[in-house]
């Protein structure tokens, strides 16, 4: 086949193709290569390949060099290139050795495919698995999606249970948006973040003169949420005294602001959430039984992210798309290596932690493809191949020590969180830290 016929064939295919000689100078460059790289053939031919392709691997791990050195082909490696207009483009490259008709090696050939269009397809995929901004393909979450419209239609109190960072507030928002109260306000209050007295005045409001510094009337959240929904987050942290007042509001739909003698009607729908086991709190006498049953008219349970691992790619792509949009950046593709690391991680901080990881990687990634080096260090260490991991523990005691060390590290040496994660008391954890001589930074 003559050169002209070869060029016609090369130009008709959708993938970029170029060939190099032994000096790394480009000897052919097809139309698709021009389109993807933004460099026309006129300027590419005769140039050193790294001055045209400008990929992130050119300097550190050139794929074509590896192929020409070992003779082994590389198939579908995800890298990114930067075009003359400063745009990063994710591409998938394959390389092989180029031989003449007598079988002599005359150079190398590289084919590459533009992966940017995959972003649009991923977007469609995410849309297919989202429900009022909650994204999931997990069967348990799909069941939640199915019952949410019915839950929303009623005016019953809803208790959303799930670990921290699992999306409880999003569920509350979805219930509000789907309910007949959607035109009214959605008022959110974190009961765990405020001391008891302050929480009381925040919830119910006060009259001027109720206490020192109460210069004028202040409406509480129950008043602000009138006609809408009140979302009580971290309800498990509320004191017993306040629980009694809350119970009255839920039962009788009335309340009195501090210092007020008149009774106000509570026209709100209450959605409460907790990351604690309310049944256990109830059994230990720290949560009122009657309030529990009053709140738990409808229960929604959200699994932690480790139990719905199939959602990790969808969520990671969703967060990345949102970040790119917010920062007016070109779409970024997540490499398969990064996805593999993300899928293996346990996410003690759940979706919030995944979101933080993606945000960290987004800051470090200049564009194109998210690579393992953009991930936080603790994730990369978590993903070391078995041979580079510390030696496996020999005894149960060693295993216990290793578990405690890893858990402490994962929870940034916060003892309460670590003890909770390990299912032991704070005192036991303290005793074991002392026993194994673990250094805990202050």
């Amino acid at each position: 086949m003559n050169q002209q016929a070869t060029n016609v064939i090369l130009d008709s295919i959708a993938d970029g193709v170029f060939t190099v000689d032994h000096d790394w100078k480009i000897t052919s460059f097809n139309r698709a290569a021009e389109r993807i790289t933004g460099v026309s053939r006129e300027f590419a031919l005769g140039s050193l390949c790294h001055t045209v392709l400008r990929a992130n691997v050119c300097e550190t791990s050139c794929v074509l060099r590896k192929t020409l050195t070992t003779g082994a082909s590389v198939v579908n490696k995800t890298v990114y290139i930067v075009r003359p207009d400063g745009r990063s483009v994710p591409i998938s490259i394959s390389t092989s050795v180029l031989r003449d008709e007598r079988g002599n090696v005359v150079g190398g050939v590289e084919t590459f495919r533009d992966l940017s269009h995959l972003d649009g397809l991923r977007g469609n995929l995410i849309e297919g698995h989202s429900f009022h901004q909650i994204i999931s393909r997990n069967h348990r979450m799909r069941r939640v999606f199915a019952i949410l419209p019915d839950i929303a239609r009623s005016d019953s109190t809803v208790l959303v249970q799930g670990p921290s960072g699992s999306g409880k507030e999003l569920v509350a928002r979805a219930i509000h948006d789907l309910s007949p109260r959607r035109e009214g306000p959605l008022v959110v209050i974190n009961c765990g973040a405020l001391p008891d007295t302050l929480l009381e005045s925040e919830l119910f409001g006060y009259k001027a003169g109720a206490f020192t510094d109460a210069k004028r009337d202040k409406p509480g959240k129950f008043a602000l949420a009138r006609g809408g929904t009140l979302f009580l987050d971290e309800i498990g942290d509320v004191s017993l005294a306040l629980q009694a007042r809350l119970l009255r509001v839920l039962q009788e739909k009335v309340y009195e602001p501090l210092g007020d003698t008149r009774t106000h009607k509570a026209d709100v729908r209450v959605v409460a959430a907790t990351n604690k086991d309310l049944k256990e709190l109830m059994q230990s006498g720290r949560f009122r039984k009657d309030l529990y049953y009053r709140l738990n008219v409808v229960e929604v349970f959200l699994p932690d992210l480790a139990a719905r691992r199939e959602d990790v790619p969808l969520l990671a792509n969703h967060f990345l798309r949102e970040l790119c949009k917010a920062h007016d950046k070109e779409p970024i593709t997540i490499s398969e290596e990064v996805l593999a690391v993300l899928l293996r991680y346990d996410y003690p901080g759940n979706i919030r932690e995944l979101k933080n990881i993606v945000e960290y990687a987004f800051i470090l990634c200049p564009g194109g493809v998210l690579l393992p080096e953009h991930l936080p260090e603790h994730l990369a260490q978590n993903d070391l191949p078995p041979q580079s991991r510390p030696e496996s523990p020999a005894t149960i005691t060693d295993m216990e020590e290793q578990m405690i060390r890893e858990s402490l590290k994962r929870h940034a040496y916060r003892r309460v969180a670590t003890a909770r994660h390990l299912g032991i008391s704070k005192t036991t954890l303290w005793r074991k830290i002392k026993k194994y001589g673990i250094q805990v930074p202050r």
Binding site: F43, A44, G46, T51, L53, T60, P84, I363, C365
Partner: protein, 232 residues
């Protein structure tokens, strides 16, 4: 001015000097130099392979860099550097020492700016005289540098040079050493734009025909534009 050039880590053949790294974001080394009209004073080299993007940007600012000459660079990174007052010349390729030499020559030309009366124009062509055809940069056999007043010129044969950016780099050295700050050509690739931009040479693309006519046409257009500006 304090200049940083990213240096390509893949070792070149022994006979060849070190090249500019292909991509700023994955560059492993950074060479620092102070460049002025007197010449180039090499400073230290920094290993940046372990630095992530934000730290690279912070390092450049901390080292007092005014100008970064590098290979390709993402638009986002480039803007972040510009915000810190660092001027970026992207798509520069070829030997690091040539790049620094071109910058020093540019500094010397900038210093003489007020004294230059006659404008010199570089024109790649198919031959060594003014009646030859103007050629695309990568296909020219000669480089003519023509004075806009009187049309006296010098011609340098560049046909023997290899294709690709080595030609562009040597051509650019000739252009700046001959004192031209403008290049007329039919077309110019991104690597040529990169190095000519670093040299402070303006490129006017889409010009064709006989060299002499193209220069006269440009001079007439430039004087017309100057007259219009004065009468505005």
């Amino acid at each position: 001015m304090r200049v940083a050039v990213t240096v390509f880590s893949t070792s070149p053949p022994r006979s060849e000097p070190e090249h500019v790294s292909p991509l700023f974001e994955s560059a492993q080394r950074l060479l620092l130099a102070d460049v002025d009209s007197e010449g180039v004073q090499l400073l230290q080299e920094e290993a940046i392979g372990n630095l992530d993007l934000p730290h690279r940007i912070v390092l450049l600012a901390r080292l007092g860099v005014n100008v970064l000459a590098c290979g390709a660079i993402n638009g986002f990174t480039r803007n972040a550097l510009l915000e810190r007052g660092i001027r970026v010349y992207p798509w520069v390729s070829g030997a690091v020492q040539d790049v620094l030499h071109i910058l020093a020559t540019r500094c010397a030309m900038d210093a003489r700016k007020g004294q230059v009366v006659v404008e010199r124009i570089a024109v790649p062509s198919t031959g060594a005289h003014l009646r030859c055809q103007l050629a695309p940069l990568v296909q020219c056999s000669h480089l003519l540098v023509v004075e806009s007043l009187g049309l006296s010129f010098t011609a340098t044969e560049v046909e023997g040079l290899a294709c690709g950016q080595w030609t562009i780099l040597r051509l650019t050295r000739i252009v700046v050493e001959e004192g031209a700050r403008l290049l007329l050509t039919a077309s110019c690739g991104p690597n040529a734009h990169g190095i000519l931009g670093l040299a402070g040479v303006r490129v006017l693309e889409g010009v064709s025909g006989v060299v002499e006519d193209a220069v006269r046409e440009y001079t007439r257009g430039a004087s017309r534009a100057a007259t219009t500006r004065r009468t505005e």
